[in-house]
């Protein structure tokens, strides 16, 4: 039985039980995982195959998932709870699959060499530094969605992720980690990753924090990403109206004219790039904030019904085990293609270049405040003067959004709940403190 005929059989079987809306989700894939750490060297390979069925009537619904292929005989429990409405099919705009889908997954030797190269590069600059854990994952998958409402979509994907955790050789050293994702493992560049780890380790050892200071802040992509993650309640609908009301100024803006935030399920070269979302609806670019003005949150087809906003094609479903839910795919602060980081840097007469976070921080959208542990450098006349660590970037979220004075072109994405991206930004109106309380 093919996937399609099998899925059709399931749809028919459940329709016979009075469930007129039925959706069958099939996903299969293979992945490789390589690890260096306290458990030695581990090379794993997995072949995964699973399915999920959502079905419902006007009165109740069910969700059943499992490994392998679904069977028409179930197990189908008696439906319960709320009714279920599935999306109708709509035309999917043309989509050209990325060329790398056919590329083979990396092998064990290649992966271990990459992890070793990172460790060697770090220790050559920082003798005695230790790799505590290095982890590389790479996989490819195929997804099919078929429903009684005419959805019939298939797409493929691939992704690779890297996590490296290291520690300095001095007493009391805390761990420093880097987490990244790309479409292919071969895209990870060992010297760049090592540079980031060395910077973090050295800053941890040598950096100091002023008691309190203000000035201009050049925020590296990692900080922009962390601040965007804190804005997810604004992006994801639900309570976004109340948040926007609180952040909006007299001119109706929530941020500087340089602030444009988008989500795009078709972001070219993105890890989650796909023609349709987890319900088989077409993905698209959604402008959430355009030149400082709030436009719309991410909304599913169901939430968009009867409203003026368009569905975003943003329902994500990372695994067959997961229920579909609204989430970003590639959420990013739009870069300025003509602005180099160096030009922003040289524009700072007195301030700080904050290159990374040192913890998760605390964000309170209701009280409009945040505190984020950071590290970087004090800047004097556009040059790094003193290493900075153990400091907290504090202020109001609205001050950050309105204080964006410059946006560079160096966008970087990090894996969070979806891929979140930011370029370097120049911001005023915030404060550094040694003690966050």
């Amino acid at each position: 039985m093919t996937g399609d005929s099998l899925a059709s059989g399931v749809v028919e079987a459940l329709a016979g039980r009075g469930l007129k809306d039925v959706e069958v989700f099939l996903k299969s894939g293979r992945s490789r995982r390589f690890e260096i750490g306290p458990q030695g060297r581990i090379a794993s390979s997995s072949q995964e195959e699973g399915w999920a069925v959502r079905a419902g009537s006007d009165r109740s619904s069910l969700f059943v998932s499992g490994t392998g292929r679904p069977a028409t005989v179930g197990p189908w429990p008696d439906p319960d709870g709320q009714p279920l409405r599935l999306p109708p099919a709509v035309a999917v705009p043309l989509w050209n699959p990325p060329a790398d889908l056919e590329a083979p997954l990396s092998g064990e030797i290649e992966a271990i060499r990459l992890l070793e190269a990172i460790e060697t590069s770090v220790t050559s600059e920082l003798s005695g530094a230790r790799l505590l854990r290095g982890l590389l994952d790479e996989g490819s998958s195929q997804t099919s969605i078929l429903s009684s409402r005419g959805i019939d979509a298939s797409y493929r994907g691939r992704a690779a992720s890297l996590f490296v955790e290291m520690a300095g050789p001095w007493p009391g050293a805390e761990t420093v980690g880097v987490a990244m994702a790309r479409r292919e493992m071969r895209s990870f560049h060992a010297p760049t990753i090592a540079r980031r780890l060395v910077d973090r380790l050295l800053l941890q050892r040598e950096g100091q924090s002023p008691d309190r200071d203000r000035g201009e802040f050049l925020l590296g992509p990692a900080l922009g990403v962390r601040l965007l993650v804190a804005l997810l309640p604004l992006v994801l609908g639900g309570g976004s109206e109340a948040i926007v009301r609180a952040l909006r100024d007299r001119r109706g803006r929530i941020g500087s004219e340089l602030l444009t935030i988008k989500d795009d399920g078709r972001y070219r070269g993105g890890i989650l790039e796909a023609p349709v979302d987890g319900e088989g609806r077409p993905t698209r670019e959604t402008v959430i904030v355009g030149e400082g003005r709030f436009n719309q949150p991410l909304v599913s087809w169901n939430e968009a019904q009867g409203t003026a906003v368009g569905a975003s094609g943003c329902v994500r479903r990372p695994s067959w085990r997961d229920l579909p839910r609204v989430a970003p795919s590639h959420l990013y602060l739009a870069p300025s293609p003509d602005v180099k980081v160096a030009s922003l840097l040289t524009a700072v007469t007195r301030g700080y270049y904050l290159i990374d976070t040192q913890g998760s921080g605390r964000f309170d959208l209701e009280r409009d405040s945040f505190r984020l542990p950071v590290c970087g450098f004090a800047l004097r006349q556009g040059h790094a003067a003193v290493p900075l660590a153990g400091a907290w970037l504090t202020g109001s979220i609205s001050a950050w959004l309105r204080g964006i004075q410059g946006v560079a072109r160096d966008i970087e994405f990090e894996p969070w709940s979806g891929m979140i991206g930011s370029p370097t930004t120049l911001v005023t109106g915030l404060e550094l403190r040694r003690n966050p309380d």
């Binding site: 458990q39 581990i42 069910l62 490994t67 505590l132 805390e174």
Partner: protein, 437 residues
């Protein structure tokens, strides 16, 4: 038994072909999982069922591991995974074993699960409270079997429930082996107290005497004893053996990990590597006696005893973790513990905890507490954090209660592995600890 029908002798014979070096370890791990969930009343779809099965084959040689996992249990998939893991293929291989597991049992009656949210709501009303909440309840069942070249322990199974509650002022989660009336009352009491504590005043940051009720003591000991004494954590800091005999806490501290004494539905006689589970003394009179070790660690040190390996799922290699933590009772009544901590704080529950494995610094998040005034419990206080170092905190324990409770069960997440953990502890008193509001 869902994992009958596996020809253990033939599996062991096949594994012996790939474990052809003297110290090789080869094993096959078969698992089946079932989850049945009733979501909150306003969520669709209604009842949710997930069933999965699969296996992994692992070969460990000279500090390196190879693992191949599949999402099905079939003879063909087994042979394919064997070939993937083997370092050299035998000239005349044994025939592949017959793997014909019995079908999943029919879905058991779930009406008790469906009635649970209503029972909790009624219990809250009996406590003269009412507030909006969204409660999800899930039954988890797991069956597993490990077959090695020289061992084939009894198949194991686990069954328990988890509850997740969304409240207007936060989230609450709990694990429980059953859905008895006692479980309903305990959950209702926790939620009602959280409701009443929502506007409670915050405590000023200070060093204070603290008394932790059994559920809070269990989470604290999980973070600062169990995680600190996992061999993969100890390896990050250097040689594991150097921890043996270390005075980590005062003589009142007798802490064990004993999966054989866990609540009946999650009790284990062997671990996820098939090694016999034992009553393991982590701390005897405050001195480190036997860290939590798996086969990998025990293979590298004769001083270590395997039997504490756990797997998040078949696609991941095992790692040493606690299953059921016990703190042996002391001789203090709760009244005596409170009297010794006058003007301090009493914490009934912990919401989460975190340990930095390298520095030994930890944070515990407490959703609410009570002031201790004149040896009795006083007014409620709002959320707090308890921070410190492992040695500082354990050295500060100045009283252990005489009444033990099965309490403090929860999800443990470390290195991407999410595992249920259980505990049986009395209350503890801490002379001085850093508490921040």
């Amino acid at each position: 038994m869902p994992l009958s029908g596996l020809d253990a002798t033939a599996v062991a014979r096949c594994l012996s072909q790939i474990a052809d070096h003297g110290d090789d370890l080869a094993e096959a791990y078969f698992e089946r999982l079932e989850e049945v969930e009733y979501p909150a009343a306003d969520e669709e779809p209604g009842i949710r069922v997930r069933r999965e099965e699969g296996f992994a084959i692992r070969l460990v040689r000279d500090g390196r591991s190879w693992l191949a996992a599949r999402d099905q249990i079939t003879t063909g998939a087994f042979g394919e995974a064997m070939r993937q893991v083997a370092r050299a293929l035998p000239a005349a291989p044994y025939p592949e074993p017959t793997l014909d597991p019995a079908p999943f049992p029919t879905l058991e009656d779930t009406s008790r699960l469906a009635r649970f949210p209503t029972a909790v709501t009624r219990a809250i009303r009996r406590q003269l409270a009412a507030f909006p909440m969204r409660l999800r309840v899930k039954r988890h069942r797991r069956w597993l079997r490990v077959i090695g070249t020289q061992l084939a322990p009894e198949p194991q199974s686990e069954s328990f429930y988890s509850c997740d509650v969304d409240l207007p002022w936060g989230r609450f989660g709990a694990l429980t082996p059953d859905l008895s009336g006692g479980t309903v009352e305990r959950l209702a009491t926790s939620l009602t107290t959280l409701f009443r504590a929502q506007d409670a005043p915050r405590v000023e940051p200070a060093e204070r005497s603290v008394v932790l009720a059994p559920p809070a003591a269990a989470v604290l000991l999980h973070e600062v004893v169990a995680h600190a004494l996992e061999t993969d954590t100890l390896m990050m800091g250097g040689r594991v053996e150097s921890a043996l005999g270390l005075q980590l806490g005062g003589p009142l501290l007798n802490v064990l990990d004993d999966p054989t004494n866990a609540p009946e539905s999650v009790r284990r006689s062997s671990d996820d590597e098939g090694m016999i589970a034992v009553r393991r003394w982590l701390l005897r009179d405050g001195v480190v006696e036997q860290p939590l070790a798996d086969l990998f660690a025990a293979h590298h040190s004769r001083a270590l005893m395997p039997g504490a390996a756990r797997r998040g799922n078949r696609h991941r290699s095992p790692a040493p973790r606690s299953t059921h933590l016990e703190l042996l009772p002391g001789d203090s009544s709760l009244h005596e513990l409170l009297a010794a901590a006058d003007r301090g704080l009493y914490f009934p529950e912990v919401s989460s905890g975190r340990l930095d494995p390298l520095s030994g610094r930890f944070s515990i998040f407490l959703p609410y507490g009570r002031r201790i005034e004149g040896g009795a419990l006083g007014e409620l206080v709002g959320p707090c954090r308890l921070r410190g170092t492992v040695s500082g905190l354990l050295g500060g324990i100045n009283g252990v209660g005489q009444d033990v409770e099965s309490a403090g069960a929860g999800w443990c997440a470390k290195n991407g592995l999410k595992l249920p953990v259980w505990a049986t502890t009395p209350a503890i008193g801490i002379g001085s600890a850093e508490v921040r509001g």
